[in-house]
């Protein structure tokens, strides 16, 4: 806290006044006005302004202070007490100390951090390819490949073949979220309601996107029944009954197989489903002496065991399902991201502020051949 005292009358409680002597630039305390001199008024030195200025200069240069500006110990004690109070109580206590009328302000200590604002990671969106849509409409063209080469005789002409195109139209849909901050909430709340509301709202677009992508994939993908439960163990043995690699391999063959040019590069599971995957002996090995490393945090990481496939863990993927999609080539699912608007409206009469988010988007399967929903991979667990 920076302050300068040049010339100030002491408050009646102190019982003395403070005057600056222009000849030596020292502040003096006195009970009388020093009309003819500081000695006649019985003034005593309390603060050396020259020393203060030189200390400030030394402090700026990073040097040791040359001396103490406080000449009077009692005055120094008062200043120290004031500083301690201000630092301990912050602005509220400062207000109380300076208040003419109410010096007994009740100080309430509230931790500045507000709990409950943060949300989980919504990773499900990463199962789809995000495509920006400048307006609301987008057309996706698909081509049907012609069949292959045929053997020809001498002089024989090959049959004409041609590509067939088809077009699908998609339209981004409108979603909105509005929240209101009443004037009173803004004025009485120790927290920044606007900032907290915006932080909470900021997760909602990702939340909706993630749920929409997973919902579309689980409802629309071609299903592939798992060959066995990933968590099942052969009775009285140390190994699993079934390999998850077979299920993922079949899905990969379907996605990258006959006449389809996708690439299985994302696998989406619930975290608890992935636990069963990692616990499977075909993945971890039978005689493993250490447990596999695991994280229950939703997000996107590498799938252990199969190089080149990214793993998407999201709480909202149905347990028992593994969603196999292609994102980089011939994307299975698109997340069309349309325009977004964020705005506010102030009501002059009530003082209320309204904030809103308008988001246009659509999650849709655009290439169903390049995705599979593997079902029945594990037994759902309560969580």
């Amino acid at each position: 806290m920076r302050s300068k005292i040049f010339e100030a009358e002491a408050t009646p409680e102190h019982g003395y006044q403070i005057w600056r002597n222009p000849t030596d630039n020292i502040l003096y305390g006195s009970y009388d006005v020093p009309k003819y001199g500081f000695t006649e008024a019985g003034a005593w030195p309390i603060y050396d302004v020259n020393q203060h200025l030189s200390n400030v200069k030394y402090a700026k240069e990073g040097k040791d202070l040359s001396g103490n500006a406080f000449v009077d110990q009692e005055f120094k004690n008062l200043v120290d007490e004031y500083r301690t109070n201000v630092r301990a109580g912050g602005r509220q206590k400062t207000a109380a100390l300076r208040s003419q009328k109410n010096s007994a302000v009740n100080i309430v200590n509230v931790w500045t951090e507000v709990l409950g604002r943060l949300d989980r990671v919504y990773a499900g969106k990463n199962l789809a390819k995000e495509i920006a849509v400048p307006n609301l409409l987008i057309e996706i063209d698909t081509v049907t490949k012609f069949t292959g080469l045929t053997k020809l005789d001498e002089g024989m002409l090959p049959q004409n073949k041609e590509l067939t195109y088809s077009r699908d139209s998609f339209r981004a849909e409108k979603y909105g979220l509005k929240f209101v901050i009443h004037e009173e909430a803004r004025l009485v709340n120790v927290h920044n309601v606007q900032q907290d509301s915006i932080q909470v709202a900021s997760n909602k677009v990702d939340q909706r996107a993630s749920f929409d992508v997973i919902s579309v994939l689980e409802a629309g993908l071609t299903t592939q029944a798992a060959g066995g439960l990933w968590e099942a163990f052969t009775s009285s043995t140390d190994h699993s009954t079934y390999s998850p690699f077979v299920d993922i391999g079949i899905a990969q063959l379907n996605i990258e197989g006959t006449g389809v040019g996708g690439k299985l590069d994302r696998l989406g599971t619930h975290q608890l489903t992935y636990v069963d995957y990692l616990g499977n002996t075909y993945v971890r090995g039978v005689a493993s002496s250490s447990s596999v490393e695991y994280s229950f945090e939703p997000g996107t990481k590498a799938l252990k065991g199969i190089e080149g496939i990214g793993l998407v863990n999201d709480n909202s993927i149905t347990q028992g399902n593994a969603i196999a999609t292609s994102v980089t080539q011939e994307p299975t699912c698109a997340y069309f991201q349309g325009p977004q608007r964020i705005g506010s409206a102030h009501d002059e009469e009530t003082g209320d502020d309204k904030y809103f988010i308008i988001d246009y988007h659509k999650a849709a399967i655009i290439q169903p051949e390049t995705g599979r929903l593997i079902t029945g991979v594990n037994t759902p667990r309560a969580w």
Binding site: T318, G320, E349
Partner: protein, 169 residues
Amino acid sequence: MAFGLTPAGTITKQATGVVSTRRIGVNNGVNVSKGNVVYLQVDGFATIASSADDGGFAVALEPGNNTAGSDGDVSIPIAVGGHYVTVVSTGTISPGERVKIGATAGQVAAATTTEAESKIVGTYWGKEGGKVVKSTTSADSYKESFTDQADFVPVNCGAGDVIEVELKK
């Protein structure tokens, strides 16, 4: 903290400038909860509405406990006719259906088409949407699901649901 639904007794669509909230005294011996449907007695004080009461009805926007006081010792802000406000349902109501006071005082139920106009509280339009819910049953695979059933399109409500009602003018 997870997600919290908007409580009963909240104005969901503001109509400032068209219709304003009011403040009214609570009848003695009455403990009004936020979100209760109230009606004004002939003496002008609010009490929790029961199925025997005739409107006009309003909805308490804050609690007001006047069990120990005299008439009007405690007052509450109310949303009057024309407001879209949340109340508690006592049973199944379809979107667009008119509502009356249900078996529980201060809460609403579906009204029959022949219900007397004086018993009508308003019209049910929908519940809060955008909800994230985790299932507790194995039949649903303990799934964390997201439902958007506010306005596009609204669904029936059930007993105990907090619903949005347009109060009858």
